[in-house]
């Protein structure tokens, strides 16, 4: 007769694998392993884990399966952790994929929260020159990334279509030998969209991204322009693009202003009415004009967190009723929480996304580590100005202290508080934000709106994930996008 193995066969001595934890107010403890897989434990279970006296065989199995503990000497858990960790970081080797071109500072809108010190329509000295544009394309192609995304912004990029065309054609010409995957996006309020622009977009596979803050009165209040018809023009533009190029060729971004608070359901309904099933509940950015204190649109992060929670409750309710809607930021977080993929979203990566995930070429030839870095420069703070296309090569731009120092200092794996944070694998480093708000690329996380916001999002998503099987299934679907 064979010797029977029993299920309770006691394993050898245990040891911890690296893990981090966070207490919940209801007494549960969140435990995450070194790649961000999570499990909730009761206080008693957590003590058992801490003391490595785990009597409950089911708990022990879960902790071994989640790579929180191992039997002494076991190598497979470490091998699997290494695979997952390597997979989470492999995008780093690709370097910069997103290349933003500020083709003009001119704009015919005068939005209160604008991140750009816009210029009036007539002043062409704020347009990018052909020489600068070609040098920027050259620099973009120095990045080893197999995917290059060219994003045109402003100001209002439709006011300088000449340069948009030049960059697109130049990139496509260069790519004939290189065979990379190129993508082109125009970030525009669409007020100036015409047939010529659509012909161009059609011919070159260009996508549009536009601003839509919600219902008509809210949007027009946020986004003044002569005639107070920004919403009407945006909707008309969206309709034209969809008719001509297809539904998927235009996406919309919203910004939460003080006027949006309390209106999250109306905003989501507006998106659905307009045929958008992705919505990004985005807090107002603290840069540019929006950084000005005491402006009437200011609100604190706690107010945004309530706004987000209410919006997500509504979105989950809509999905349960059969209307698919995705909250884009949550979907990015969930991808990091539930898979090993790194979506490469600039604000949610560590090392930070500045420079190595995105570069910004300003109209005047200055190169910035991010859009926000340029905003600071518009206000006199040159910290994130990496150099100038006329003087610097790709190598000097990417290896200068202006980029490497904040990258290294803000790295969440070593930054104070982040390195001990149970959410670290899902979070990101935002040295520009923390520099802008505290004068230091690391910042003090307990006071950081960036940290407060992300913690609130992580906690909300985890609570719904554990409590509600419907949400859990939906979250896995979002993570898969």
């Amino acid at each position: 007769m064979r010797q029977r193995l029993t299920l309770e066969t006691a394993p050898g001595p245990l040891e911890h694998l690296p893990f981090r934890f966070e207490r919940w107010t209801d007494g549960r403890v969140l435990v995450t392993n070194m790649v961000g897989e999570h499990v909730f434990l009761s206080e008693a279970e957590f003590s058992a884990l801490a003391d490595l006296r785990i009597a409950d065989p089911a708990l022990l199995r879960t902790l071994r399966a989640k790579h929180v503990v191992r039997q002494r000497g076991e190598t497979l858990p470490v091998e699997l952790l290494a695979l997952k960790y390597r997979t989470q970081h492999h995008r780093l080797a690709d370097f910069t994929g997103l290349h933003m071109f500020v083709v003009t500072l001119r704009c015919e809108h005068s939005c209160g929260y604008c991140q750009v010190s816009r210029r009036t329509v007539a002043r062409t000295e704020f347009d990018m020159s052909a020489e600068t544009a070609v040098a920027a394309v050259e620099t973009a192609f120095r990045s080893p990334s197999p995917h290059l995304k060219f994003e045109f912004q402003g100001g209002e990029p439709l006011l300088n279509m000449e340069i948009v065309r030049l960059v697109t054609q130049e990139a496509q010409r260069r790519n004939r030998d290189e065979g990379r995957q190129l993508a082109f996006v125009i970030a525009s309020n669409l007020a100036l969209l015409d047939d010529e622009v659509l012909d161009f977009a059609d011919e070159h596979d260009v996508y549009f991204s536009t601003s839509l803050d919600g219902p008509q009165d809210l949007h027009n209040g946020n986004r003044p322009r002569p005639g107070r018809d920004s919403w009407e023009r945006t909707i008309a533009g969206v309709t034209r693009i969809r008719k001509r190029l297809g539904h998927h060729r235009v996406s919309a971004l919203m910004t939460t202003t003080a006027a949006s608070l309390g209106k999250v359901r109306d905003i989501i309904d507006c998106y659905l009415e307009q045929g958008f099933h992705d919505i990004f509940l985005r807090p107002v950015s603290p840069y540019g004009f929006a950084l000005r204190p005491r402006q009437r649109r200011a609100y604190d992060m706690a107010a945004w967190i309530d706004f987000y929670r209410e919006g997500m409750d509504y979105i989950l309710e809509l999905n349960a009723r059969g209307t698919p809607v995705v909250e884009t930021y949550s979907a990015l977080v969930l991808k990091k929480m539930l898979t090993n993929a790194n979506p490469g979203y600039v604000d949610l990566t560590s090392p930070a996304g500045i420079g190595i995930a995105a570069l910004l070429y300003n109209y005047d030839g200055a190169v910035y580590a991010s859009d926000e870095g340029r905003m600071l420069a518009e206000n006199g703070d040159m910290t994130f100005r990496l150099g100038d296309l006329a003087e610097d090569s790709y190598d000097t731009l990417m290896t200068g202290a202006a980029l490497l120092d904040p990258l290294e200092e803000s790295y969440t794996g070593s930054a104070p508080q982040c390195s001990d944070c149970a959410f670290e694998r899902w979070c990101g480093a935002d040295p520009v934000f923390h520099h802008a708000t505290t004068g230091d690329p690391v910042g003090r996380k307990p006071e950081s709106a960036f940290c407060n916001r992300n913690m609130a999002v992580f906690r909300y998503l985890l609570d719904r994930y554990t409590a509600d099987p419907h949400a859990r299934e939906l979250f896995h679907a979002w993570a898969a996008r």
Partner: protein
């Protein structure tokens, strides 16, 4: 139920047969390895149970009367024992390569026997050479075929050369693939139509090792899967739901999704009431109705990880409707049965029914007719992009 082996009613032979494998033909002059089914005239003639026993003739027992031209049988030298190895009309033929195994699963349908049966490997190699190039699919099972090491690789190489268009499916416990030398040799067959199906019964060693009754098996199996992935081999993971694995099914699915997302397919399988499953009934039986929600959650979790996931041997009436599109009507035509409840069921056509062994020995207490069908379009469940892991290059 159609059986695949039996004793002849009678056999009249001039002299003992010197070859074992015979392809049945009905409408052409027989070649040297072909037996005529129906009328006489060949080196060997095979007639159905009611037919006349002429010279050099084997008379089939009634349960093998379904044999027909194109089928391949093994006949013992005295003509008395007959085994069906290839059924031309079936799309799922598989060959038992050995009864030896280094696992001893609690619910094994083919309980391992420790004895030299390498003649099965030689027979498989001969059979593969006899198959028509139109053969759709051929499975290799055990026991544990990889115990042959290079011998198995030679068979796979022969099969690849003889049958370039056939889909091959190897069933293995995966442990041998932990040996990088063996995995490299296996990969050197370079057959894009070869897939290996490997059972996984836990997300960590203790549960898996208990179910397969072998200490250290989990580590070897998972290392084997990783080694196969390094060589870009096609992998299917099979999870049998039974009393011990069912409560852990979401955890197992999560483990696969997070650690082994490169596998091509996961099969979530109901228990077949044969072999050791019957001997160990109390240790392995659980009513699928009890774990139906966890099964659905696990299946969808895998789907969202970009892994093709099928549910086998589960009756539609014990599955939540949202995973009906994943249920495969897998039980082959000659193995399935229906209960009286099924007769008034609106989805009987789409349902796999029950294994005959389940119908006879143990099945869910919740088999109940579905009064109104729901469409079970597979597309109803959107599938995600497959995810990859960044693997180091093979050694």
């Amino acid at each position: 139920m159609i059986s695949l082996r039996g004793r002849a009613l009678s056999a009249t032979l001039d002299r003992p047969l010197t070859r074992e494998l015979w392809r049945l033909v009905s409408d052409k002059i027989p070649g040297p390895d072909e037996a005529v089914i129906g009328s006489g005239g060949g080196t060997l003639n095979v007639v159905r149970s009611g037919g006349d026993a002429g010279p050099n003739t084997v008379v089939l027992p009634p349960h093998l009367d379904h044999l027909d031209g194109g089928d391949i049988i093994a006949v013992s030298p005295d003509g008395r024992r007959i085994e069906v190895l290839w059924r031309a009309r079936s799309r799922h033929n598989s060959l038992l390569l050995t009864e030896r195994c280094d696992n001893y699963c609690l619910m094994c349908s083919q309980p391992p026997k420790e004895r030299d049966d390498s003649r099965l490997l030689r027979r498989a190699s001969a059979l593969v050479r006899m198959l028509p190039p139109t053969a759709h699919e051929l499975g290799f099972t055990g026991g544990e075929p990889t115990l042959y090491g290079s011998g198995l690789v030679s068979l796979l190489r022969t099969a690849t050369q003889c049958l370039p268009d056939t889909e091959f499916h190897l069933l293995s416990n995966g442990r041998r693939f932990a040996d990088p030398g063996f995995t490299a040799e296996y990969a050197s067959v370079r057959n894009p139509r070869l897939m290996v199906g490997i059972p996984l019964f836990g997300a960590e060693p203790s549960l898996h090792d208990y179910v397969v009754q072998a200490r250290g098996a989990f580590d070897e199996t998972v290392s084997g899967i990783l080694a196969l992935a390094q060589h870009r081999q096609r992998i299917e993971i099979r999870v049998v739901l039974q009393k011990n694995t069912a409560p852990a099914i979401v955890e197992i699915a999560g483990f696969i999704a997070r650690n082994l997302p490169f596998v091509e397919k996961v099969a979530l399988m109901g228990l077949e009431m044969t072999g050791l499953a019957r001997a160990n009934l109390a240790e392995v039986w659980t009513d699928p109705y009890e774990y139906r929600n966890e099964l659905a959650e696990a299946a969808l979790l895998l789907r969202h990880a970009g892994i093709r996931t099928d549910i086998y041997n589960h009756q539609l009436c014990v599955l939540p409707r949202r995973v009906w599109p994943l249920a495969v009507r897998s039980i082959s035509d000659w193995k399935n049965e229906y209960l009286s409840a099924c007769m008034s069921c609106s989805v009987q056509e789409a349902c796999g029914g029950l294994f005959a062994s389940s119908a006879k020995h143990r099945h869910s207490d919740h088999i109940a007719a579905i009064p109104h069908p729901t469409p079970r379009a597979r597309e109803a469940i959107s599938s995600a992009q497959p995810q990859d892991m960044v693997m180091p290059a093979p050694p």
